[in-house]
């Protein structure tokens, strides 16, 4: 674990250098990395563990906004924001999805800790937002009902 982290660090340094000297095209540069373990976690508990969230506080400064009823689970608009100073990371999880973790954001300084996106929901569930500020985790949730629609199948 320690070893691999160090090699990632090393890699980042080289990567950073490459960027500085413009060896790589700007389109290849991605600071974020797709972590299969957290996105493939089958329960929220497991996903939180993979994200390194062991303790968190429910906070009214974090808001999950959406309609209480979604006409279609394939597209559920969700707006999440944090009023906590120095919020630099956010994760949106749909508790009852087969893989709860949906999307994560890194907010560099100057970017509002507020985003709107659209997620898929397998059915009615709580949608959670976890945010990190000064190394501490805060959370909020909202229940969104997914309805069946229309005539016929």
């Amino acid at each position: 674990m320690d070893h691999s982290r160090r090699s990632i660090l090393k890699f980042t340094t080289i990567f950073g250098l490459a960027v500085a000297t413009n060896l790589l095209g700007s389109m290849k540069v991605f600071a974020a990395e797709w972590k299969s373990k957290s996105f493939e976690a089958k329960t929220m508990e497991e996903a939180l563990k993979e994200l390194g969230i062991d303790k968190y506080t429910l906070s009214s400064d974090v808001t999950v906004n959406s309609a209480e009823i979604a006409e279609n689970g394939a597209v559920v608009p969700v707006s999440v924001s944090s009023a906590i100073a120095n919020t630099d990371y956010m994760a949106i999880l749909v508790e009852k999805n087969p893989s709860p973790l949906s999307i994560t954001f890194n907010f560099p300084e100057g970017t509002d800790a507020a985003v709107t996106t659209r997620v898929k929901m397998g059915g009615t569930s709580n949608v959670f937002a976890f945010v990190k500020a000064d190394g501490k985790w805060f959370a909020a949730s909202k229940e969104i009902k997914v309805t069946l629609g229309g005539c016929g199948g």
């Binding site: 959406s66 309609a67 209480e68 009823i69 979604a70 006409e71 279609n72 394939a74 597209v75 608009p77 707006s79 709107t116 659209r118 309805t147 069946l148 629609g149 229309g150 005539c151 016929g152």
Partner: protein, 268 residues
């Protein structure tokens, strides 16, 4: 009989009053859901691709569709959609937008009919050129009023055939279009049904197709919408861009006359 109905309805209304309240907030939340989605309609992505396709030279004739006459002269897009379907002298027929596009793709670009209608309804990994073109062409009429004509005898004929079809009850379930779309403020499950005989309702509905359907992840055209309706109506499959469908579209477009076109929209 009517009196009894009225009476029992009142009783019912009293009985279900708490539930009506709950229902009210349900529809508010659904309205909110739609509002939240309206900002950032993926149909714009289809419009962008459609514009490219409209201007792209296509073999065998190696020409673009920019010479296609949608009724207001070759290449004129502004306001073309709000006057469709219409009678076209060059084919002596009433055509809707999709029929006309196919005509232009065959007659101007030299595609075979099969090529011109291929993938008319797109699916994952198999995007439809027609859906993109329709998204682009219709977007050029945004903000204009629906104004189809039924002055030409063939336009009148299309309208009347469409009207007859609207009321035509058949199939295992005895459904017609009118079964679901001729009364005000009805719902199927939680979906509101539009009364296509009520001008305001017809305008609101007709003038917001084509639309990006979130349930399908594609921009769907009027032909697709009707096809899907008829499937649920337990009718067999209408042939794509057929005379009957154009007739039905003509009937609906006329009922929506004066409605301000606001497509491509975003729908369930």
């Amino acid at each position: 009989m009517k009196l009894i109905m009225k009476y029992s309805l009142t009783i019912l209304a009293i009985l279900v009053a708490p539930c009506v309240l709950a229902e009210g907030s349900s529809s508010d939340e659904i309205a909110k859901y739609r509002e939240l989605l309206a900002d950032g309609n993926p149909a714009e992505l289809w419009e962008m691709r459609g514009e490219e396709l409209w201007k792209k030279k296509v073999s065998p004739n190696n020409v673009s569709l920019e010479r296609c006459d949608l009724g207001k002269g070759p290449g004129v897009l502004k306001g073309a959609y709000v006057e469709l379907p219409r009678y076209f002298e060059d084919v002596n027929k009433v055509m809707d937008l999709e029929q006309r596009l196919i005509f232009c793709r065959t007659s101007i670009q030299g595609l075979s009919y099969e090529q011109a209608v291929s993938s008319h309804f797109g699916s994952v990994g198999n995007p439809s050129d027609i859906e993109a073109l329709v998204a682009y062409i219709t977007s050029e009429s945004k903000g204009m009023k629906m104004a189809v004509s039924i002055k030409h005898p063939k336009e009148m004929e299309a309208y009347e055939i469409g009207k007859n079809f609207f009321y035509y009850r058949a199939g295992t379930h005895d459904f017609s279009c009118a079964t679901c779309h001729s009364s005000d403020k009805k719902r199927i499950r939680l979906q509101e049904l539009s009364n296509l005989l009520n001008k305001k309702d017809a305008q609101k509905t007709y003038a917001t197709w084509p639309a990006y359907r979130v349930s399908q992840g594609e921009v769907r055209t009027m032909q697709h919408r009707l096809s899907d309706c008829l499937r649920q109506q337990r009718f067999p499959e209408p042939k794509y861009a057929s005379t009957t469908m154009t007739a039905l579209i003509m009937f609906m477009a006329k009922n929506a006359e004066g409605g301000v076109f606001d497509g491509p929209a975003l729908k369930r």
